[in-house]
């Protein structure tokens, strides 16, 4: 067919016939087949495609109806595009591991920077946990992780940096090792590291039925700006908190520890 083959067991050469359909090409590259259908994908994650595919910003007028049914975070709109057309498209993200997941009338919440693409049969919503996105419905989505993803069953406590997402767990909450952190000595330990701060005094706790997705490193993927949530009473991260982080900085900063000096004004009720 072509004189550029793979001589003597060289690297596999792919063409539109041999590329998989909606499956991984290797651990770091995912192939999506479009047949007049549409996919949502995060900006700039397409690395190559065969065929004719159009990429349009969410704000494109023609896509209004699609966006209305399956994209419920207007403030993310600038980070997402819709690919439509026919052909095969390769997705990848900074040489991180890429995997696809099937949801069957389910729900899954995922760190916003890890989600690469999803079918419009799913609907994307901003989680009330800042920095996370929730997918609801039936369909396929593609997510990246730093190292392979491990699936765990609750009840368990996980390291905040290793958490990728969770499905069907209603109760993600913070857990602190109070015995180790309280009191003057605990505060000093956490602040200075003297006397052995293990760095593991703070975890996320999951109970109930469901699945928790973990990545096998503690290196976080770059956070994708998810837009600010409306400034309303009752909305977590709505910009009313101390420091006004305006959205999704909540799990990144050091939490205010009991017994820690500082925030004196709050103690005096000012």
């Amino acid at each position: 067919m072509s004189r550029y083959g793979a001589p003597g067991g060289g690297p596999t050469v792919h063409d539109p016939m041999t590329l998989p359909v909606d499956d991984n090409v290797n651990s770091y590259t995912f192939c999506v087949e479009l047949k007049g259908s549409q996919w949502f994908l995060q900006k700039g994650k397409m690395i190559a495609y065969y065929g004719s595919i159009d990429f349009n910003g969410i704000g494109h007028g023609r896509l209004d109806r699609l966006v209305r049914t399956s994209f419920h975070s207007p403030l993310h709109a600038s980070d997402w595009v819709v690919a439509e057309g026919s052909g095969k498209m390769l997705l990848a993200d900074r040489a991180f591991d890429v995997n696809s997941y099937d949801l069957d009338d389910g729900n899954l919440t995922i760190r916003s920077g890890n989600l690469l693409a999803f079918q419009p049969t799913l609907s994307l919503k901003q989680s009330i946990v800042p920095g996370f996105l929730t997918l609801i419905g039936t369909g396929k989505f593609v997510a990246a992780s730093n190292g392979p993803v491990v699936f765990m069953e609750p009840p368990l406590r996980v390291d905040p940096q290793a958490l990728v997402g969770w499905a069907d767990c209603p109760s993600p909450c913070h857990h602190y090792d109070h015995g180790y952190m309280t009191g003057l000595m605990g505060g000093l330990r956490a602040l200075t590291g003297l006397g052995g701060a293990s760095g593991e005094e703070h975890q996320f706790e999951f109970v109930g039925a469901g699945t928790v997705l973990l990545q096998s490193t503690e290196l976080l993927m770059a956070e994708q700006a998810t837009g600010a949530v409306p400034h309303e009473p009752g909305v977590p991260g709505g910009g009313a908190g101390p420091g006004g982080q305006g959205g999704h900085g909540a799990q990144t900063g050091t939490p205010r520890l009991p017994g820690q000096l500082g925030d004196l004004q709050r103690r005096f009720g000012l």
């Binding site: 067919m1 050469v13 494109h60 600038s78």
Partner: protein, 202 residues
């Protein structure tokens, strides 16, 4: 990491990429990448700098560059186009040179010029994550993101596509404003990662 068996002949490799060797080896810096005075001047003028060394001797030499993935490319008298920063080593019999890439180079953030490798033998190119090799044939043209492009070989014509519209300036762009379209007959190497390019944000 790439293991090169050298038996009296020579291999050209990126300067400083040797991590270990056994046997008898001599490393000699090749001024101008062994391209002569003209090649040196061209490289200096085009900013496509490349310092190569010649490895000669008996034994095995291990080459590596910043833990990036290494892909071997077999050349049968055809031409490989690769960025000098992505070229790790070539057989001594392969000729290297510089060529003009036009607008594509500008959007890749790699300058307007690229390195060519010609002849018969093997070349090793590096990429961030294992490169995916995609075939371009007359009935299946391929479109690639400039940030993920690593190299291509064969008789391939490239055209530059820009999807910049007024929406791009309103911050509503498709995220893939610049693309390279390959037509003809050959292979394109794409890495599963994107360099930072001016096209990355629009």
């Amino acid at each position: 990491m790439l293991a090169v068996d050298v038996t009296g002949d020579a291999v050209k490799a990126k300067n400083g990429s040797m991590v270990a060797y056994d046997g008898q080896m001599a490393f000699k810096k090749l001024s101008g990448g062994g391209e002569g005075i003209r090649g040196m001047v061209t490289r200096r003028l085009t900013g496509e700098q490349m310092t190569m060394m010649e490895v000669r001797g008996q034994g095995t030499c291990w080459l590596a560059d910043r833990a990036s993935e290494i892909n071997l490319v077999q050349l049968h008298g055809d031409k490989l186009y690769v960025e000098s920063s992505n070229l790790l080593a070539t057989d001594a019999g392969l000729r290297t040179g510089t060529s003009f890439t036009g607008l594509r180079g500008a959007t890749q953030g790699n300058g307007l010029f690229t390195t060519t490798v010609e002849g018969t033998g093997q070349a090793a190119i590096t990429s961030d994550g294992p490169a995916v090799v995609l075939r371009v044939s007359p009935q299946y043209p391929l479109t690639v993101d400039p940030g993920a492009y690593v190299a291509h070989q064969g008789d391939v014509r490239q055209t530059f596509q820009s999807g910049v519209t007024f929406r791009t300036f309103m911050g509503e762009g498709g995220g893939e404003a610049f693309q390279i379209r390959f037509e003809g007959d050959g292979l394109v190497y794409v890495q599963p990662s994107e360099r930072n390019t001016i096209a990355g944000d629009v």
